[in-house]
C-alpha cells in the first residue's frame, strides 16, 4: 500500500501527530437525532433470538453480570426473552475487589428484584489461593479477572457465558463473532473463528471448551443509552452527573478512593462528573458532565468527542492491542 495515496489531505485535519488532543472539527453532518428508533427494535429482537438459541442449545449457560449499564441492558433483554418464566441460567459476577461500592449495591439489588440466582466469585479469593499473583498490591485487576472467570467456568462447568461486550468498543471486538469460541484454556484465537452466517449460530463445543456469547455485539454506546432511556432502566447513580474528588493522571480525571490516593504534586479537585463505563476503580475515569437525566446523557453521547474507552480507561491506553492480548488470555 502506498501511504501517500491514502493520506487524507483535508487541511484542518493535519494536526501534529504527537498532539494528544488534535484541534480537529468533526461536525461534518448533523448529529444523530431521530424521533423514533426502529433500529432499536431490530437490535432487541436480534438479542432475544441469540439468548433463546443459547438457552435451547447449550447445556449450562451463565450470564456475566457486573451491575454496569451494558449488563443491565442484558438483564432487560433476558426478561424480554424469558418472562414470565425464570431465566434458564444464573448470573455470575466476577468481583475484582476494586469496585465502586454503589455498583456492588446495585448488582445485589437488581438480582434480588429479578429473583434470579447470583453467583459471585472474587479476585481476592484467587489472590489468597495464589491463583492470581500480583506484581504490586494496588495494581489494576482488570486482567486478573480472567483467572477468576476461568476458574468459575471450570467450577460450575459452564459451556456458554453471555457477555455484554459490543463491537464498537474496541477494534479486536469488531472482528469477534457473536458466538465466540474459546478453547479449554479459555483463549480466543482470532485466526480460527467460525464463520457466522445469517442468524445461524454454531453453538457446538467439546467438553471443557466454551462459548462467549455477545447478544449486544451490534449495539453502539448511543444505542445502549437510547435503549436505557426508552426502557427507563434504573441505573447506578454513578452514571449520572455528581460531584466527587478527582485527581488528574495521564490527562484523565481519576476518582480519589481508598485505593487511589494523590501522589506528591497531584492536586485533589472537586468536579462534577459522570462515568461512561464502570470497571476497576483504580483505572476507570469519569468525564466532566452536568448530565443527570437519560435525555441529557443521550444528548451528550450524541455530541461526544471521545470514545467510551478512550475517554475513560487508563488500561486501554497502554497498547494498540491491550484488549486483544487480554482476550487471548481468557478475558471476556
Amino acid at each position: 500500500m502506498t501511504q501517500a495515496s491514502n493520506v487524507l489531505r483535508r487541511q484542518e485535519l493535519d494536526a501534529p501527530a504527537s498532539s494528544a488532543q488534535p484541534r480537529v472539527q468533526l461536525r461534518a453532518v448533523e448529529p444523530v437525532r431521530a424521533a423514533e428508533h426502529d433500529h432499536l427494535e431490530w437490535l432487541e429482537t436480534e438479542a432475544i433470538h441469540i439468548m433463546r438459541e443459547v438457552a435451547a442449545e447449550c447445556a449450562n449457560p451463565v450470564l456475566l453480570f457486573s451491575g454496569g449499564k451494558d449488563s443491565l441492558v442484558m438483564l432487560r433483554l433476558a426478561e424480554k426473552a424469558f418472562r414470565p418464566g425464570r431465566f434458564p441460567f444464573p448470573l455470575l459476577n466476577i468481583d475484582t475487589g476494586h469496585n465502586f461500592p454503589e455498583l456492588i449495591e446495585f448488582r445485589d439489588l437488581r438480582a434480588a428484584e429479578l429473583g434470579e440466582r447470583l453467583i459471585v466469585r472474587s479476585v481476592e479469593d484467587s489472590i489468597a489461593s495464589g491463583r492470581v499473583r500480583l506484581k504490586r498490591p494496588d495494581e489494576d485487576r482488570n486482567r486478573h479477572q480472567s483467572v477468576t472467570l476461568l476458574d468459575a467456568i471450570g467450577e460450575f462447568g459452564f459451556d456458554a457465558c453471555f457477555g455484554g461486550a459490543r463491537r464498537d468498543e474496541e477494534k479486536s471486538r469488531a472482528k469477534e463473532r457473536i458466538f465466540s469460541f474459546r478453547d479449554e484454556f479459555g483463549q480466543w484465537d482470532p485466526k480460527n473463528q467460525r464463520p457466522e452466517l445469517w442468524s445461524l449460530y454454531n453453538t457446538r463445543v467439546h467438553k471443557g471448551e466454551n462459548m462467549r456469547v455477545f447478544p449486544i455485539s451490534n449495539w453502539t454506546e448511543l444505542d445502549i443509552w437510547q435503549y436505557i432511556g426508552r426502557e427507563k432502566l434504573p441505573l447506578p447513580s454513578l452514571y449520572f452527573a455528581h460531584t466527587r474528588p478527582v485527581i488528574v493522571r495521564n490527562g484523565l480525571y481519576l476518582p480519589v478512593s481508598d485505593l487511589v490516593q494523590p501522589k506528591a504534586g497531584e492536586e485533589v479537585m472537586e468536579k462534577r462528573v459522570r462515568f461512561r463505563t464502570l470497571g476497576d476503580v483504580t483505572c476507570t475515569c469519569p468525564v466532566l458532565s452536568d448530565a443527570d437525566t437519560y435525555e441529557a446523557i443521550i444528548e451528550e453521547t450524541i455530541c461526544a468527542t471521545h470514545t467510551e474507552r478512550g475517554a475513560t480507561r487508563l488500561d486501554d491506553q497502554t497498547s494498540d492491542a491491550s484488549m486483544e492480548l487480554r482476550k487471548k488470555e481468557g478475558y471476556f
Partner: protein, 421 residues
C-alpha cells in the same frame, strides 16, 4: 422526523481499490470517528511512515493481522445519521475472499462493489457482484472510486458503467446504482464535493439513506420454534412457543399449521414482555400460545395452512465451502437449518462454479476452501424448507463438521434442476 431505520451493507475489496479509505471516509465524515481515535490515527500514520491521517488505518485490525500483513476476516463497523443506523460488514478481498464475502453478504440488504477508475472492471469486481447476487442481496451499489486519479472524467465513468452493466446483466439484482466517488478527496461520499458537477444522482451516503429496505409484508409466515416455555406460574400460559418471526406476520385467532407433524391449531395469544399483542410480524421475537395441546418442540415450523413450506428428504443446494478439508461426494456432515440440526450426506456434486466467469465445471469431484458449487444432499430426516430466493431464513443453512465442530460451509436451497429426479 421519521423513524430511524437500519441498513446492513457489505463491502469487499483489497487495500488497492481504496475500500478502507472509503469506509474510513464514511465513518470520518459522518462523525463516527472521535477525537481520541483521530489522535491515535495520527500517531499510527506517523509510526508507519505516513503523514497526516491515513483513513485506511481506521479500519485496521488485529495485531495478529499486522504481524502477517493480511486481513483475516470480516469486521463489523457502525455509524449513524439521523435517518439510519448502518452496520457495515467489511470483508477483505484476498486470501479467503469467498468465505468472507459470503459471510458478510449473508446479513446484508445492500452491497458496495468498489471499482478503481484507473484500472476499470477487475475479476474481483465480478466475483463480488456474483457472490452478492448468489446471496440474494437486492441492492447493488457500484462505487467507481479514485475519480480524482482520472481527472474526474465523465467519459471514464460512463465507460466503466457500460462495461460493468454488461457483466451484471446476467445477475439478479432488484436495483443497481453507479456512483462516481473519490474516497481520498471525499467527493460524492458523505458530501457531494465540487469536482463532479456532471453527476446528478445521489451521493453515496444519500443513496445509503434512501434505499428501501425490503419489508416482509405479503411474505409467507415462517416461525421456527426456538424454545418451549413452560413458566409454571399461576396466571400465565401453560405452554408457549418462543421464536422469532423470520418472515410474514401473524394475528391472534389465525389458523396455523405445525410442520412437519401437519397438525393445525389456532393462535390463542401472542405474548411479549410488554404484554399480549393482537398481531406481530417479522423480525419480532415473540411467544405463541396455541388453543390446542399439540406436541410441538424446537425445530418445528409454524406456518399458515395456505402457505406451507416444503418438507424434503433431499435438498438441491448451492454451497460455499469454507474449510481446508474439501467437500467430497459421500461426505457426511451436520446441517443447521433454522432451529434444526440434522445429519446429511453429499449424494452428488453437480458442478463447481467459476465465480469470475460464471462457468460451471461439471467434472469437479470436490469443493475446496472458497469454492462455490451445486450439490444434492440426502437428509437423515426431513427439513421444512423454502427456496432461498423465496425466503432467506428457511432457505439458508450452515454445514458443521461433527468431529471438529467447525462451521465448514454455507448453503442455499435451490429448485431441483430441470429433469432431475
Amino acid at each position: 422526523m421519521s423513524a430511524q431505520t437500519l441498513l446492513r451493507f457489505s463491502t469487499a475489496g483489497g487495500v488497492d481499490d481504496g475500500k478502507s479509505t472509503l469506509i474510513g471516509r464514511l465513518l470520518f465524515d459522518s462523525r463516527s470517528v472521535l477525537e481520541d481515535q483521530v489522535a491515535n490515527l495520527a500517531r499510527t500514520t506517523e509510526r508507519r511512515g505516513g503523514k497526516g491521517l491515513d483513513l485506511a488505518l481506521l479500519t485496521d485490525g488485529l495485531a495478529a493481522e499486522r504481524e502477517q500483513g493480511i486481513t483475516i476476516d470480516v469486521a463489523y463497523r457502525y455509524f449513524a445519521t439521523k435517518k439510519r443506523k448502518f452496520i457495515i460488514a467489511d470483508t477483505p478481498g484476498h486470501e479467503q475472499y469467498t468465505r468472507n464475502m459470503v459471510t458478510g453478504a449473508s446479513t446484508a440488504d445492500l452491497t458496495i462493489v468498489l471499482i478503481d477508475a484507473k484500472k476499470g472492471v477487475q475479476p474481483q469486481s465480478r466475483r463480488h457482484a456474483a457472490v452478492a447476487s448468489l446471496l440474494g442481496i437486492p441492492h447493488l451499489v457500484v462505487a467507481v472510486n479514485k475519480m480524482d486519479a482520472v481527472g474526474y472524467s465523465q467519459e471514464r465513468f460512463e465507460a466503466i458503467r457500460a462495461e460493468f452493466s454488461a457483466v451484471i446483466a446476467k445477475l439478479d439484482f432488484a436495483n443497481v446504482h453507479f456512483v462516481p466517488v473519490s474516497a481520498l478527496e471525499g467527493d460524492m461520499t458523505v458530501a457531494r464535493g465540487k469536482n463532479l458537477p456532471w453527476y446528478r444522482g445521489p451521493a453515496l451516503l444519500e443513496l445509503l439513506e434512501q434505499v428501501e429496505v425490503k419489508k416482509s409484508t405479503g411474505a409467507p409466515l415462517r416461525f421456527p420454534v426456538q424454545y418451549v416455555a413452560m413458566p409454571g406460574m399461576p396466571g400465565t400460559f401453560h405452554r408457549g412457543y418462543m421464536g422469532r418471526i423470520e418472515s410474514g406476520g401473524i394475528k391472534k385467532g389465525d389458523r396455523v399449521l405445525v410442520q412437519p407433524c401437519g397438525l393445525s391449531s389456532t393462535v390463542r395469544d401472542i405474548v411479549t414482555f410488554e404484554g399480549s399483542r393482537e398481531c406481530a410480524q417479522a423480525p419480532q421475537s415473540v411467544t405463541l400460545v396455541l388453543a390446542d395441546e399439540i406436541d410441538i418442540s424446537r425445530g418445528d415450523l409454524i406456518t399458515h395452512p395456505e402457505t406451507p413450506a416444503q418438507p424434503v428428504r433431499t435438498l438441491d443446494v448451492v454451497l460455499c465451502w469454507m474449510d481446508a478439508a474439501p467437500l467430497q461426494r459421500g461426505g457426511r456432515y451436520l446441517i443447521k437449518h433454522t432451529t434444526n440440526t440434522v445429519k446429511a450426506v453429499v449424494e452428488r456434486l453437480d458442478y463447481r462454479l467459476d465465480i469470475t466467469t460464471l462457468e460451471r465445471d461439471t467434472s469437479a469431484t470436490q469443493l475446496a476452501l472458497n469454492d462455490i458449487g451445486a450439490a444434492r444432499l440426502k437428509l437423515q430426516r426431513p427439513l421444512i424448507v423454502d427456496d432461498y430466493a423465496h425466503v432467506r431464513a428457511t432457505g439458508g443453512f450452515i454445514i458443521i463438521d461433527e468431529v471438529t465442530n467447525h462451521t465448514v460451509g454455507a448453503g442455499m436451497v435451490v429448485p431441483s434442476p430441470a429433469g432431475s429426479p
